[in-house]
Amino acid sequence: MTLPPHTLDRIVIVGGGTAGWMTAAALARFVRNGRTKIRLVESDEIGSVGVGEATIPPIVAFNSLLGIDERDFVKATQATYKLGIEFDGWLREGEAYIHPFGDYGRDVDAIKFYQLWLKQRSKEAIPPLEAFCLSAVAARKGRFAPPSPDPRSVLHTMAYAFHFDATLYAAFLRKFAEAHGVQRTEGKVVDVNLNGATGFIESVTLQSGEVVQGDLFIDCSGFRGLLIEGALETGYETWTHWLPCDRAVAVPCEANGPPIPYTRATARRAGWQWRIPLQHRIGNGHVYCSAYETDEAARETLLANLDGATTAEPRLLRFMTGRRRKFWNRNCVAIGLSGGFMEPLESTSIHLIQAAISKLIALFPDKRFNPVEASEFNRLTAMQFEQIRDFLILHYKATERQDSGFWQYVRDMDIPDTLATKIELFRSKGRIFRFEDELFGEANWVSVLLGQGIVPSAWDPMVDSLSDADLRRNTAQIYQAIQQTAEQLPRHEDFIQRFCAAEPV
């Protein structure tokens, strides 16, 4: 096959883990010109963070694009299905809501279902909005089945993602990537060699003395950003003013029952605790702000709130929320934690890896490294980080908690104008407007805004074109259809057992 002369010869990925192997697998799948070689350098001595075990629905498409059999993947990674996230105690103690995947109810004549619900709730007591979302109802009932392709079926509205063991996922993708030609090199990078004239990375030197040359380098080395920061000194923009949590302590524990099909995020005195059920264990972690909580107290809080006995020692992680000033600098692209970090409140870490890979493929460079590709990658990635940041800030800002200095701080803090406008528009008439291809859609924003107690003062006037009787009948039908459908689904654990149970550990 004739290829353009500037086609890349060598891509070097530094760092394995979830980011490294996801990148390697995707590039191996999509860059199949017969010339570009992909090499991944990682060291068994360096552990991966591996806390990003919960995902959001786009991961389904990622696996499918790679051609991965979903049930094989579930089996191999001890995965469970995820239908949403329960936020417990975020508005006030003792109250919980689910941010589900999938839509609410059924729109009527282009009027959003939640607008119908808003009007009806102003007139009479009706079930909460989540009772009209199949994913939420199935989650509460501990049930699961894949969505139906038939758009007329209630089951069509179901959307899902996974909880999985990130270390096993990396191993699974490693096997896939190596089978597609990726060369793995065991070794620790001890030096990064830059071209004196251009400042581009020419090679990395391994502890063994081997020099690995490349045209394009992908930094998947985690928080430290070995290439993007260590060598290229790209700089970091911090967002701790809005997202002040800066530490996490993580520990797995034994499960004390069948896995529930949703993540739980429970608000604590100076942060929050995650609970991620896998087939063989439960992943737990406590994200907190060190200005309001000591490491010891955070650890105690976590250990006091587990379902079962711990299966490993708690690990402390320090982080600084924010992003790299450039994600793509010269011939280096930072993917994963080396590019930036936001707490896993909405399970976006793995999605950010996936999104960066998609953008890299869409903007794939050649040896000339046209700067328009890097600048576009940086523009889009920065925008995505900021959109997710705003969504996370909402969870903190819209709280009624006043039980600690931490919650008082986040409640009173200033927020970005983009978020303030969004909240005000929703408060006014329940309007949600998305910006530039935003990850979180209308249903996501509605569930969190309502869950956090922001209730519109009015509804879409078009709802008034329906009579109260029609409104009531419509709502009742949808409620019944969703409850019945959810009831008929298999139990989550039964579904796994039947189709994709992992080998016992």
């Binding site: 096959m1 004739t2 290829l3 353009p4 500037h6 086609t7 999509f30 860059v31 199949r32 010109n33 570009t36 282009a110 493929i361 869409a362 903007l363 794939f364 050649d366 046209n370 328009v372 590709e373 576009e376 523009r379 406008t421 005000e424 528009l425 006014s428 008439k429 309007r431 407007f433 910006f435 530039e436 009015a458 879409d460 006037p461 078009m462 008034d464 074109s465 009579s467």
Partner: protein, 475 residues
């Protein structure tokens, strides 16, 4: 609503946008008890005899319960598939910008990426052969899209060319039918009734009539980077019912468009160099083009259409912005207590819509092989990114409130002569010879399919649009 009662919405104007806004407002407000009135002050500038409607108008027509066939019969309309651009890459060149998307390449990589590898993009008009809408447009054939049968030919959608006066009357009937109150009397006294502006929200849809100067608004800001500042309207017999024709010459642009029984030509030129063939055409009135914008929503006044935005009058840009303006107003439907929030959001979105629509025209002028004053200064950051990215490796970047869909941007830039410098590596996984063969087969399939479509004139005759008397009871 009692005759003297202050309406919740007062629409000013006797234009298409005025009646469309009034009708859609009253329909959307339904049983909410909120009222809509219209004060049909006359437009002071000429409006073209053919209204050019984009596909997006379909949602508003659905809201109004329009029966398409009835509307077309009443308005003597035709189905619009897009525009044919002639002479933009030099004399004799042409390409079609049609609504919809070309066929998908059967294999990996986008069709235009494979087209680049096979050298198709350099050939004038060759990219059109992959788009059923463009091929039908060139042949002036039409039948309603059949997504299942056309699966391998991409998809096309359509707007309309309508007799403008008749369309305005059709909208007027709908508005009055659904309960819009028509205000009679002296406009100034109605506006100033009881010493204050007369309604909860006033919609200026006058097309820029001077009466609207009494409204509390920001001033007009000229965006003078487009190369023409004058236009003239002339009657012109129909050439194609399916496509508008935008012909470029060194000193002018001609925009020809035809509905079933009406055709017209708009000539755009510059005051400093009036084209020779217009000189001496004594009956031609020449008007200045008001290129620019104002902040569309200030206080309780919303401007829609030419009252808010001025672009060069070719293609469907004017109606696109009107449709977007009405849709956005309906989405926000403000009450008096929340005007500020609604206005802020309306301005944010409509200014984006204006700039993205303007990007289309600026792109055309920036890339045309014509000795026009370049529009370099008018290139927005978004347009610059879009062009850079496409030029680099054929990647399409889109932004919020775009006027063109991504596939349409691809056709447009290719038509204007932009060939990506290199190919997306994903496309390289298919051997070049295989790709070329598949492209030939896609194009042959579309050509054969298009031959099976009837001429638009026959299709309209079959539907009773041509040769029928007035209708108008079908909403």
């Amino acid at each position: 609503m009692a005759p003297d009662e202050k309406p919740d919405f007062l629409v000013l104007g006797d234009t298409i946008e005025a009646w469309l806004t009034a009708a859609c407002l009253v329909r959307s407000l339904g049983k909410s008890g909120r009222s809509v009135a219209i004060l049909p002050v006359l437009r002071e500038r000429p409006s073209p005899p053919v209204a050019v409607l984009p596909p997006s108008v379909a949602n508003l027509h659905a809201l109004l319960g329009f029966d398409e066939r009835d509307m077309l019969r009443f308005c003597k309309g035709s189905f619009r598939l897009g525009d044919r651009f002639e002479g933009w890459r030099g004399e004799g060149s042409s390409f079609v910008l049609s609504y919809g998307s070309p066929a998908e390449f059967p294999g990996e990589g986008a069709l235009h990426q494979q087209g680049r590898r096979s050298g198709v993009l350099e050939q004038d008009g060759a990219y059109d052969t992959f788009s059923l809408g463009a091929v039908l447009g060139r042949l002036d054939r039409f039948a309603h899209p059949d997504p299942v049968a056309n699966q391998q030919a991409g998809y096309f959608t359509y707007g309309y060319h309508l007799d403008a006066d008749k369309y305005r009357d059709y909208l007027k009937r709908a508005a009055l039918h659904y309960g819009v109150r028509k205000e009679e009397g002296d406009p100034m006294s109605i506006l100033a009734r009881e010493g204050e502006l007369a309604a909860g929200v006033i919609v200026d849809a006058t097309g820029g009539a001077s009466i609207s100067d009494v409204l509390p608004r920001d001033g007009w800001r000229a965006d003078a980077d487009l190369p023409f500042d004058q236009f003239a309207l002339m009657d012109e017999p129909a050439t194609s019912l399916s496509l508008g024709r935008v012909s470029a010459g060194n000193d002018k642009i001609l925009f020809d468009v035809a509905a079933a029984e009406t055709g017209c030509r708009a000539a755009l030129f510059n005051a400093s160099g009036v084209p020779e063939n217009l000189v001496g055409a004594g009956e031609v009135d020449v008007f200045g083009i008001r290129s620019g914008h104002r902040t569309p929503w200030v206080g309780k006044c919303v401007s829609i259409g030419a009252s808010a935005f001025g672009l060069l009058p070719f293609g469907d840009v004017e109606m696109s912005l009107i449709v977007r303006g009405v849709e956005t107003l309906l989405e926000l439907l403000p009450d008096e207590g929340r005007l500020a929030v609604a206005g802020q959001e309306y301005n944010r979105r409509m200014m984006m819509a204006y700039h993205r629509t303007r990007d289309v025209q600026v792109m055309a002028f920036a890339l045309a092989a014509r000795p026009w004053r370049t529009a370099e200064a008018a290139m927005s950051d978004q347009n610059r990114i879009r062009l850079e990215q496409f030029r680099s490796r054929g990647r399409v970047v889109t932004f919020d409130e775009e006027c063109l869909a991504p596939a349409e941007w691809v056709s447009f830039m290719i038509g204007l002569g932009v060939v990506p410098e290199r190919t997306d590596p994903v496309a390289e996984s298919v051997a070049q010879e295989v790709a070329a063969q598949r492209l030939r087969s896609v194009s042959a399939h579309i050509a054969a399919l298009a031959e099976r479509y009837p001429s638009q004139r026959d299709y309209l005759a079959e539907a009773g649009v041509i040769g029928a008397d007035a209708f108008g009871g079908g909403m």
